[in-house]
């Protein structure tokens, strides 16, 4: 494993600014009970990307994030953020929101931010007042700065946690489910905030179990399922990777299925009253002509482009918005 690290380290130290923001190689976490939370994860997040880390609850997203941030030691494999050899060396340039907000209930929002700023050895104490005020302002908590955290609503707590990630100049934001507990208005604000931060050149790594959310703000997507990365790429790549299907409405579906097979289509699914098949590169009009030639009663015909959701359900075997 030492060799893996060194190889990764060399690659990253060679071009610290240009290298990927996050690299993992064979990253694995097996908990003491024996269950594997993350299984040989090879992930690359390019600089400047807004990376959507998508997967159902329990698919290993949070464990991966904890390993990236050095909170959990991997069982095997390696990870690196911002080209640093160890997470701690990079963390001053990283803002992180891990598994929901956690603050001191008896301190005000502003005092809480000061507390975490004090823990960062690279933070400048002279500018802390300004930076805290700015961060609170960015998440719309300026008015509640002096209020005790105990009195914050769920949405305000989530906003404060996001504010904490914005206390300093960041090269990377790691946001674990950032819109949890936010109302639609808050969700939209966070989305805009992320776009805004990304526009400034910061890499953003957002985990979510909500496809729609990721689809709306991410440039890259990685899909986790039971500890494995099942798909990774840009949004367009993933969309184009999906194959369109042709759906034929007909009373004689078995005949139609035979005709489609004869035409050379694959993955044919006959059903009562209809039959579908993978279209591939074939032209729909040719397929129609072939069906008509065979004398099959075609009542309707449709070319179906699968949604991202269909793709992910196909990849992970379940839906993402189970909780939504």
């Amino acid at each position: 494993m030492t060799t893996t690290i060194d190889a990764a380290g060399d690659a990253m130290t060679a071009s610290p600014a240009g290298g990927p923001a996050i690299v993992t190689r064979g990253l694995t976490k097996r908990f003491r009970g024996g269950q594997i939370a993350v299984d040989h994860l090879d992930l690359t997040v390019p600089r400047g990307a807004v990376f959507g880390f998508l997967g159902p609850n329990g698919s290993g997203k949070t464990t991966t994030i904890r390993m990236l941030l050095g909170l959990v030691t991997p069982t095997s494999g390696s990870s690196s953020i911002l080209g640093a050899a160890s997470p701690v060396q990079a963390l001053t340039r990283v803002g992180a929101l891990v598994e929901g907000p956690a603050f001191y209930p008896y301190l005000s929002g502003a005092a809480n931010l000061r507390r975490f700023d004090a823990a960062d050895p690279s933070a400048d104490p002279r500018t802390v007042g300004r930076r805290v005020a700015e961060a609170l302002d960015r998440v719309g908590l300026a008015a509640a700065a002096k209020k005790r955290y105990r009195a914050y609503s769920l949405g305000m707590r989530q906003r404060l946690a996001i504010a904490a990630t914005l206390l300093g100049p960041r090269e990377l934001l790691v946001l674990d489910e950032p819109t949890n507990g936010l109302d639609p208005q808050g969700t939209r604000e966070v989305r805009n905030l992320i776009k805004d931060v990304a526009a400034g050149g910061t890499t953003v790594f957002v985990s979510s179990h909500l496809l729609a959310e990721v689809e709306q703000m991410c440039t890259h997507i990685g899909v986790m399922s039971t500890g494995r990365l099942v798909a990774e790429g840009t949004l367009t790549e993933l969309r184009s990777a999906s194959v369109p299907r042709i759906r034929v409405e007909t009373p004689d579906s078995s005949l139609a299925a035979a005709a489609l097979t004869a035409f050379g289509l694959t993955n044919i699914i006959p059903a009562p009253g209809e039959v579908s098949a993978e279209l591939g590169d074939a032209l729909p009009e040719r397929v129609t002509a072939a069906l008509v030639r065979e004398g099959i009663a075609v009542r309707g015909l449709q070319v179906v482009h699968p949604t991202l959701e269909d793709v992910f359900v196909h990849l992970t075997g379940e839906g993402f918005d189970v909780e939504a």
Binding site: Q89, Y106, A164
Partner: protein, 315 residues
């Protein structure tokens, strides 16, 4: 004592830079990178400044927390209660504590005599037991570590904060008892356990000695509680375990058949503060006590370090 080296080294390195250990890649490269910081004087100075800032934040948190303020309140009130009780009961007792009625300064010693077995350990145990487990329970530990506070650095500063609290707690008891004694009773030269009498100024010096010795004993307890605190994610569990250990140790201490283990128990050395009340001061006994405290701090501190720097933060 030379074996303390690795721990001390670890502390200084990570005070300078956040050299952390949990790193997947604590290989040779990590070491050389982290070594750069403390070697340059400016880096070291900045590291110390940042450390002081976090320590101030810790202390601020400790002394602003309502629960801790309540504990300090109890520490301040107990000597007052003892004083008032003695005042109300009159000087019936012939014992050392009975002398309080004749000399207010003695109330300080009486206060430590009464509070060292349980009240002071309670206060220090709560703060120290809470130090890591409390942050883990709140979830703030993961944000401190991603800030990044650095594990060794955070642990060292948490312990420094516990020591500050222990000193403050003992000083508070001494001051509260002193003020109560001055107000309620006459004050004059102090009679020591050995029967000799020392002037007022030396009496105050001995009070300071007692308070410092007690603070050292409480700092040792703090190290124990800190080690327990790294083992769990519930602060109540860590605090309760610490206090149960204190009580069990004192029960064992009271069983004559178990006299053999008495010198190894932390609690049996707390009582050694009475060495400051003898003539001449029982430096051998108190010195041995301080060595025992130091041993507890080194052993418990290194256990806490080993555990905290290798543990997965899943809370």
């Amino acid at each position: 004592m030379s074996k303390v080296g690795p721990l001390g080294e670890g502390l200084s390195v990570s005070a300078g830079v956040q050299a952390d250990s949990s790193a997947v890649s604590a290989g040779p490269r990590a070491r050389s990178l982290s070594g750069d910081g403390p070697e340059s004087p400016r880096g070291a100075l900045a590291g110390v400044r940042a450390g002081v800032r976090l320590l101030r934040s810790e202390i601020g948190l400790t002394f602003r927390r309502p629960r801790n303020l309540a504990l300090l309140g109890v520490l301040a009130v107990v000597p007052l209660v003892i004083g008032v009780a003695i005042r109300a009961a009159g000087d019936g007792a012939d014992s050392f504590v009975g002398q309080v009625a004749g000399n207010g300064l003695v109330l300080t010693f009486a206060a430590f005599f009464v509070m060292l077995p349980l009240v002071l350990p309670l206060a220090v145990g709560v703060v120290a037991g809470d130090s890591i487990a409390g942050e883990a329970g709140l979830g703030t530990l993961r944000y401190l570590l991603t800030a990044p506070a650095g594990r060794t650095r955070l642990l060292a500063l948490k312990y420094a904060n516990v020591v500050v609290f222990a000193v403050a707690a003992c000083a508070l008891v001494a001051v509260s008892a002193l003020v109560t004694g001055l107000v309620l009773f006459p004050v004059g030269p102090v009679t020591l356990l050995s029967g000799s009498t020392i002037p007022l100024a030396e009496g105050l010096l001995r009070i300071g000695l007692v308070a410092l010795y007690a603070a050292a004993g409480m700092a040792a307890l703090g190290a124990l509680a800190l080690a327990i605190s790294t083992l769990t994610e519930t602060s109540i569990g860590a605090i309760a375990t610490t206090l149960v250990l204190v009580v069990v140790a004192q029960v064992l201490q009271a069983i004559p058949q178990l006299a053999v283990i008495e010198p190894y128990l932390l609690t049996s050395w707390w009582a050694g503060f009475d060495g400051a009340l003898r003539d001449p001061v029982a430096t051998d006994q108190m010195g041995q006590g301080l060595l025992v405290f130091a041993a507890y701090i080194v052993v418990c501190g290194s256990i806490a370090w080993a555990r905290f720097t290798s543990r997965d933060i899943t809370a």
